[in-house]
């Protein structure tokens, strides 16, 4: 065990934890932030994505100690009170979820993508979502949500 200092959603936390613990487990079990999901633990499905210094980052495998000094934002931080972020509003508007388990990861990925590139082309969108899986078949609705944010993009 050691004390890890972590800046999450605008607050700094000191957490006594095995430093090898993946970030995801610290967020979920020590900070009560369960929006990021455990899907595979292998960085293959994207359900665990969080923003690290503004970039969408998979949190299920990399040790929490690697994230000291970084600015971490989880899906819970995107809405302000009752006001959902525009990405979240777009997902709701497009009805982009069935079971919803993968959706926080997609919301984070789209948020991170738009932060670095407000005008992504089709290739950039595919790249941003390439590590995210959905089993219910909400792909089309997720695309529609993104289209409503950036306008339709023809696949290249």
């Amino acid at each position: 065990m050691m004390s890890i200092s972590l800046q999450v959603n605008g607050e700094t936390h000191a957490i006594d934890v095995d430093p090898a613990t993946p970030l995801l487990f610290v967020l979920r079990n020590y900070l009560g932030l369960t929006g990021a999901k455990l899907g595979c633990g292998l960085e293959q499905c994207g359900a665990c994505a969080v923003l690290v210094d503004g970039q969408s980052t998979l949190s299920c495998s990399r040790a929490v100690s690697e994230f000291q000094g970084k600015v971490i934002a989880t899906v819970e931080s995107l809405a302000h009170g009752d006001q959902m972020s525009r990405v979240q509003q777009a997902f709701v508007g497009a009805g982009a979820a069935q079971c919803g388990y993968c959706i926080p990861g997609f919301v984070v990925a789209v948020t991170g993508m738009l932060e670095s590139d407000p005008n992504p082309d089709a290739e950039a969108i595919q790249e941003a979502l390439s590590s995210h899986l959905c089993r219910c078949g909400s792909h089309g609705r997720i695309k529609a949500a993104i289209d409503s944010l950036v306008g339709p993009r023809d696949a290249s």
Partner: protein, 717 residues
Amino acid sequence: MSNPSLINSPALDNWIKLDADGTVHVCSGKVDIGQRISTALGVLVGEELEIDPARIVVDPPDTSYPDEGMTSGSNSMMHSGNAVRAAAATARRHLLTRAAAKLGSGVDALVMDDGLISIRDTNQSVTYREVLDNATFGIAVDPDVTLKSPADYRWIGKDSKPRNLRDMVTGAMIYLHDMVLPEMRHARCVRPPNRLARLVSLSAEKVARLEAEGITLIRDGSFLAVVGDDEYLVIRAAERLARAATWDGATINAADLYGQLTSNPRESRPVVDGTPQDAPVPPLHEPPANAALTHAARYDKPYIMHGSIGPSVAAAKADGVGGLEIWTHSQGIQPLKTSISEALGITPDNLLIQHVPGAGCYGHNGADDAAFDAALIALALPGRPVLLKWTRDDEHAWEPYASAMSMELRASLDTDGAVIDWSHECYSDTHLGRPRPMLGGEGASRLLAALHLENPAPPFRPNPSMSSHAGLHRNIDPYYTFPAVRAIKNLVRDLPLRTSALRCLGGYANIFALESMMDELARHTDADPVAFRLRHLDDPRARNVIEAAADGIGWSKDRDDGVGRGIAFSRYCNCKTYTAIAIELTVNDVAEIEICKAVCAADAGEVVDTAGLSMQLEGGVLQAISWTLYEEVLFDQDGINSRDWETYPILTFAQAPPVDVIILDRPGAPHLGAGEASSEPVAAAIANALFDAAGIRARRLPMTPYNLRQAAMYGDG
């Protein structure tokens, strides 16, 4: 009236409750698994009771709710939907009748709106609660009650706001994976290398080291689990325990799966009008004398998996004096309750099972097995609740798969190009492996860990299901009007992997074969595949969905170079939703299929929640595209090799084509189950489009470059 839900729970108060502030609660025994059944149920109740459906509360059920068995088979709207609708309409009539007496008015002069019943154009009113004198309804649901007329609908058939959607996108939605109970500990299981292997020994030294670190080991025969306070340390402990275990060298028979399917021992039943018969199997006779063309083909489908994005999970707490509480995302909490009570030898009264949402499961995945795992662990450590999660490896390697299947078809046409003779045999393991109460403790046999215990349950040996369209024979019976049909189901024994229900059950493979054969026959006689289907269909609603899908894809228009078009149709279980799928695709020079566009035309009867239905249909198409193009459970004699998303790839965002959904609404017509319908025709629609594009007839799934090259080399076109 034959609604099983109402027969089991006839009292109105079982279905609808008014709480102290007048909020209406719907108590359905069906569980919401992302298919938005709770949204649709809210709409039905809101419509009859004139309350905005968004304000109707639909609680997740526990085993004290109406017993509606399994949430499966696309039955929820037909069972719970109609039951809840009848309950709400009965409530409406009862409220209006009593309000009339209370207000001294005729029922016709009353207006019902948002919890209030008023005499029209007056200020005299009573609340729903006051009408009931703050009590319950105390009457039975009238199954023949008059329902609100479609002309008066305010919410049915509109796009409803899906429940929980906001919480899903903000991360506030609590799945079972996220649940925290006071004093809760975490657990992981350690599994054998394959389903036949058993534990020989554990390294005492390694176990002692784990225990010294505060990890508790649970062992019962070959069932192994570790429990501790910190989830990550428990995961690490499970990995270390796996290295401390020695298993016997039992192997599974991985040789020649498709050979096993048609040569292993089997039990065969003829299927007539969708229903298996206790009768000898009629032999396959010579084709009729007036046959101008007879064509035979065999189709194969591998084992595929549910592949839930969230691994299976369960929580359990034993009170130490006989009581056991389980939290599960199972689709059938009542059958699970009976099965677990059988397996553990405890009375059902001492068992409470609560449903909590999980990730989408699409059938019988690991949810029930995880519930039993958690129960075993909790009973070994009474007092504190335990949250057991399966790992990704557990989920991929241990969920009950959809059985591999082979289908042998033969059809004959007369000189006019009409089908005059049809034979379809399917070969498969069971699709009905869900834990269910059965004589002889079979429910227990269907729980994974029960087979690993020191005193194991006897192996589950399924009997051929004799129910209409129930399992491997689902949709074997053509919906087309053919003068002579021979349909045979073969329940094959001794196959290598454990199987159960995945969306569509046998229907996905049977319709792949049936609708591929229809296309092959059309091509052999230069008939248009759409026209060929229409000439064999009497039901206008079936014809309408095919015509709508053909229109949607631009069937009569010229194709671009290299683009192939295909169509396929089914009516789910021959009595539920009608679906036609049309596909446009291309094939590149390394034999990869790219789907350009899919059109799904469906008739699900009266639509309650248009957005929800459309989403289900679209999701079903995309999931089946994934099954068809990419999915196959890989295994060898030592065990499963598809153990993560790299070794079992599924459809990615970049590969997902646009899906146009066309819904043919039938206001006033009965609701038809729609949760699985759109997946059935997808494989054949793709196979038929592939043939159109490249002249390759794909009869073995998945349509990977390897299988397409095999078909191109060895196929007969």
